[in-house]
Structure formats: structure tokens, C-alpha cells
């Protein structure tokens, strides 16, 4: 096996046994990026020199037997996450050239353990999207079929891991942005409970659902990274003051005693591709064989998740993105030779009119509308009440089941350009994911087979299933996911591009 093909746990074993060095491993990953990223476009910034420096230091740590799982292993970070001194643009024109003035807590914890940062990955600008086509720079391609999207908004992170450029990558999941790209690229995508991981250093989109998340090759690796990133933080009052469980140890323990899986079939009987449904039904059979009890549950409110999400998200982000005003950060109409703002008002409007891409503007205006006088009660407040109904419904369901299983995405990877023309059709990509985010629950997407897209019966593409757990129930959820992964091995398939 080539070095860049190693997953996190495999790389760790070889590093601590002295079979390879971090410099060798990092070099192999950088070579893979150089070879294929012209085709995939997963990265917006590659920090080659810094990475090799970090790798040298990591080799020192390993030699002095101070290595943790993450020491010396390369990782990549979605460009919406702050990395001090490194260009951090959220894949947006308005922040092009901006160098972050501090590092996100979750990233810092990995760097403190000797993790090697390879660079920043492409995403939908400000994480607004489900295909990475809303990046202001370029779309990222799916390594399984470069005519198709890798999902989004953490599409660059997923594509980089799928193309074996890096063993794992960080992303954010606000309404499905790590789970959906993981599903579309045959990877594991873990969104923790809201509050499990600090949000400090995430360029804020929806503060009440933003979650630092991880995409990796298997369940073990996601557990390791979650354990490293989790915990309270003086910089984030919503980061829970709870002890961090031994997730890494937990996944080795096999099935937990809680075995009831709720399947809300009524939720996904419509609007899901036939091939995806077949893969999910097959997975449910596998769960039964594992000894899990399958219980059909109603989940009528969850269907409203996308509608609620696309009121609350634009509302929150319209406020969060106010700070990009042409005065504090990077792009300004005032210094743009093509613009000639006459007063402060025009500095704002011209900076934001030119600096924001179409989806950011669409969302800011939708949110401004939902919060505006006369509409606040009918949209923002009403949606916040329906959110309560969604949370209550999940809490009620978890009285009779321990996990809930759904497809991650209603379809396999779609063609670039196919959905971006109709913003609403892209929003519906999050149909099984948004409600989970609104309720702050942890969820993981794991590979569960391959299916043909409806436009081409001759190819097959990855399908993911989503496992949802009660708040702070990541450990048990990951144990179940791990057992399923072991008996199916879907996650071991890799795209031919990387071979």
C-alpha cells in the first residue's frame, strides 16, 4: 500500500513502529495532491513548507515517545475554519487574501498533538450549499466521477480524503455539510452533538447549529479525531462542560446493550432514488443480522426540518455576515479601482454587492426578509416554535428507540450544474439532515453500498446511511456504526482515480 493511501489509524501504527516517518508520509500526501488536485480541486491553499516543518517536529515527538494517535498524521481543514497566519477565505471573494488572526480551538488541539496541517479545502462560500458549486473560486469534483459534485458544503474536505490526498479532514456541519459529502464520496462523516465541540474559530453561519465535524475513512478514525477536538472551551459558552468520553476505546467494545433502531420509513418513502432506497433496505437487514431490533417509527415533524432550517439559517447568517462591511476585513469597494463609493453607505452596499456570491446574497436577503418588521412573527418566530416541535418529536422517539436510521442523502452524487440552477432543489439535499441539526443531535453517515444515479444505469456511486443518537450519545452510536462497518466493508472501496 502506498503511504498516501493509509488511513489515520494505519498511519499512526506505522509511525510509532518506526516503519515510516511523518516527513515521508506528508511528502506522499503532498505528491498525491500535486498529481490529482488539478483534476479534483479539493484544496484552495496547500501549506507545503509549514506542513513539512510540522512533520519534522512530529518525527521528533515520535522518537521521544510522546506520540498520540494524531502525531505526525496529515490532515486538512475546511476554509471556513480559522488557521492563524494562513489564508482563510471561506472560499469567498470578499475574504480572498485574508489571513486568520487566530486558530480554531478544535484545530489547535490537533496541532498541539503534533498533527500536520496540509492546507485548506474548498467549500461552498461561507458554507452555503450542498454541492461545493457555490464556492466563489471553483467547483470541487467528486473523485468517484469527476463530472459530479462531491456534495457540500464540506466538499473539498470529503474529496481530498476520498482521493487519498489526506487521511482525514475537518469540516463543519450546520445542516448536513459533513454528512452529505461523506455519503456522496463513500466516507464516514461525523457531526457531534451541538456543544460537544467548541465553535470558536468557525466563521459563523448559523450559530445555533454550527458544528465542527470530521470526515474520515472509517469509524475508528472519526472517533479518534472527535475525542481530540471535544470538550469545554473558555472561548465558547455553548461548549458543554462535560467530560469527554474515551471514544477511541469505546469503538473497540462491539455492540452496546442498547439495540433498538427506529426507522422512520414514512419519512423517506417518497423522493428518494430507487437505488438509494434499496441500499438502505439492505443495510436495515444487516442491522437485523447484527442483532439490532428494527422498530418502525413515525417522525412527521422531521419533514418540516428543511423549511424551518431555511428560515432560521438565513436569519442567523444575515446577522453573522454583517461584519463583512468593507471596513474590518479584506475586500472593500473603497480600495477597488473599479468602484467609486461616494459615502459610507455606498462603501457597504458596493463592497457587499460585489464581494458576496449569489447564494450568500440570496440567503442574506431571505434572512433579512424573515427578520424584518411585519414578517418576524410569521417567519422567524413561527419557525422557532416549529423547531421546538421537531425537538420534542425526537425526544419522544428516543423514549422507545436508541438510534434513528435514515438515508443520508435522497440521491447519489448528481452532475455538476444539474441542481445549482434551482436553489430550492439544492436545499432539499438536506431533507434528512436539517432536522437533526436543529435539534442539536449527534449523527454519523457511514457508507452502505453503491447505486446507479437515475440519469445513468451504467455507473454506480456511493450511498450513505445516517445514524442519529440522543444528545451526547456519540459513543454508543459510533459503536453500532463500527460493527456495521466491520460486517459490510463498503468503506474499503476507493475511487479508481486515486489508484
Amino acid at each position: 500500500m502506498k503511504l498516501h493511501e493509509l488511513d489515520l489509524s494505519e498511519a499512526h501504527m506505522k509511525l510509532v513502529k518506526g516503519e515510516i516517518s511523518s516527513v515521508e508520509l506528508t511528502t506522499a500526501c503532498l505528491e498525491q495532491i500535486e498529481k490529482y488536485d488539478g483534476k479534483i480541486n479539493a484544496f484552495v491553499t496547500v501549506t507545503k513548507d509549514e506542513a513539512l516543518e510540522q512533520a519534522k517536529r512530529a518525527d521528533g515527538l515520535i522518537k521521544s515517545e510522546k506520540a498520540t494517535y494524531l502525531t505526525g498524521v496529515p490532515f486538512a481543514v475546511k476554509d471556513v475554519i480559522m488557521t492563524k497566519g494562513i489564508e482563510t477565505t471561506a472560499s469567498s471573494n470578499i475574504l480572498k487574501g485574508y489571513k486568520a488572526s487566530f486558530t480554531a480551538t478544535g484545530v489547535q488541539k490537533i496541532l498541539d498533538q503534533g498533527g500536520v496541517l496540509l492546507g485548506k479545502t474548498n467549500c461552498d462560500a461561507f458554507a452555503h450549499g450542498a454541492s461545493t458549486e457555490n464556492s466563489d473560486f471553483f467547483p470541487t469534483k467528486n473523485p468517484w466521477d469527476i463530472e459530479r459534485v462531491p456534495g457540500g458544503s464540506s466538499g473539498g474536505s470529503a474529496a481530498a480524503v476520498a482521493a487519498r490526498m489526506v487521511p482525514y479532514a475537518l469540516g463543519t456541519d450546520t445542516g448536513g455539510s459533513i454528512r452529505q459529502p461523506a455519503a456522496l464520496t463513500n466516507l464516514v462523516g461525523l457531526k457531534p452533538t451541538y456543544g460537544r465541540v467548541s465553535r470558536y474559530g468557525l466563521i459563523a453561519m448559523t450559530s445555533s447549529t454550527d458544528c465542527l465535524s470530521v470526515v474520515s475513512r472509517d469509524v475508528n478514525d472519526s472517533a479518534i479525531v472527535l475525542e481530540a477536538m471535544a470538550g469545554e472551551d473558555v472561548h465558547d459558552a455553548t461548549a458543554a462542560r462535560l467530560p469527554v468520553p474515551d471514544f477511541t476505546g469505546a469503538v473497540r467494545e462491539g455492540l452496546p446493550e442498547s439495540l433498538r433502531v427506529g426507522v422512520p420509513r414514512a419519512f423517506f418513502e417518497e423522493g428518494v432514488e430507487k437505488g438509494v432506497l434499496e441500499a438502505i433496505e439492505k443495510a436495515i437487514e444487516e442491522f437485523e443480522k447484527m442483532g439490532m431490533e428494527i422498530i418502525d417509527i413515525p417522525l412527521p415533524m422531521a419533514k418540516r426540518g428543511v423549511a424551518v432550517y431555511y428560515i432560521l439559517t438565513p436569519s442567523e447568517l444575515s446577522s453573522n455576515l454583517e461584519r463583512f462591511d468593507g471596513i474590518r476585513y479584506q475586500y472593500s469597494a473603497e480600495t477597488d479601482p473599479e468602484e467609486n463609493p461616494q459615502n459610507l453607505y455606498e462603501v457597504y452596499t458596493k463592497t457587499r454587492g460585489k464581494g458576496f456570491g449569489a447564494e450568500a446574497k440570496r440567503r442574506i436577503m431571505t434572512g433579512t426578509f424573515a427578520l424584518s418588521s411585519g414578517y418576524y412573527d410569521a417567519y422567524y418566530k413561527k419557525a422557532s416554535r416549529v423547531r421546538t416541535a421537531i425537538i420534542n418529536e425526537f425526544d419522544e422517539a428516543f423514549k422507545s428507540v436508541d438510534y434513528i436510521l435514515t438515508p443520508t442523502s435522497p440521491s447519489v452524487a448528481f452532475k455538476i450544474g444539474e441542481k445549482v440552477v434551482d436553489p430550492l432543489s439544492l436545499y432539499l439535499e438536506d431533507i434528512f439532515l436539517a432536522a437533526v441539526s436543529l435539534a442539536g443531535l449527534p449523527a454519523v453517515s457511514v457508507p452502505c453500498g453503491f447505486a446507479s444515479p437515475e440519469d445513468n444505469p451504467d455507473v454506480t456511486l456511493p450511498v450513505g446511511l445516517q445514524l442519529i443518537a440522543p444528545r451526547f450519545g456519540e459513543a454508543k452510536m459510533l459503536r453500532v456504526a463500527k460493527v456495521y462497518e466491520q460486517i459490510t466493508d463498503w468503506h474499503k472501496k476507493s475511487p479508481s482515480l486515486a489508484n
Partner: protein, 103 residues
């Protein structure tokens, strides 16, 4: 489809959000925002009597994990003041330069 968001509404909202739009953008966003609002309007049909709005999902049964966290009110030197100032497009010495606010 009914146009819930007229061109005038788009212009008004864009002004509130301090975004300059070109004429063809106004037309485009009127159509797109109308279809988005049409979709999200389904929340109106949900019965929510007696339900308080949720602004935050950090609520935990039997766990008092969300509480006010306070710290001593003490001035600390920020380690990288230059980086913050440098991020501003227009800077003069230790000041961020802004067009006049009061005219």
C-alpha cells in the same frame, strides 16, 4: 406561481442588508426568493399553540451543562494586535480608516 417577493420587496430588503443589486439581479432574486418563501411557508400549517420558540438547541435533560460562564473582568494584552489592524482594507497608523459617518 404567486410572486410572494416582489421586485420592490427585493429592493427594500437589499437596502436593509446593505447589498447593491444590479437590475437583472433584482428580477432574478424576486423569482428565487419567492420560490424559497413559497416552500418555507409550510411552517404556517404546523400547530404550535403552547410551544415556546427554541433559539438554541443546547438543552440537556438532567444535565446542567449550560450556565452562565463568567470570568474576572481584567484587561489582557492581545498577542497579535497588528494582525487585527492589518486585516482592515484601509489603515492609518493605529487607526482603521472609515469614510465620514456623520455628514
Amino acid at each position: 406561481m404567486s410572486k410572494k417577493i416582489s421586485k420592490e420587496t427585493v429592493e427594500y430588503v437589499a437596502k436593509l442588508a446593505r447589498i447593491e443589486l444590479l437590475d437583472d439581479e433584482v428580477q432574478k432574486y424576486s423569482t428565487e426568493l419567492s420560490s424559497i418563501v413559497d416552500y418555507v411557508d409550510q411552517v404556517q400549517s404546523v400547530e404550535t399553540d403552547g410551544l415556546e420558540p427554541t433559539y438554541h438547541p443546547a438543552r440537556f435533560e438532567n444535565q446542567d451543562v449550560l450556565e452562565n460562564i463568567t470570568r474576572e473582568d481584567r484587561v489582557k494584552q492581545y498577542s497579535d494586535r497588528e494582525a487585527l489592524l492589518d486585516a482592515a482594507p484601509e489603515r492609518e497608523g493605529d487607526y482603521i480608516k472609515v469614510k465620514s459617518v456623520l455628514t
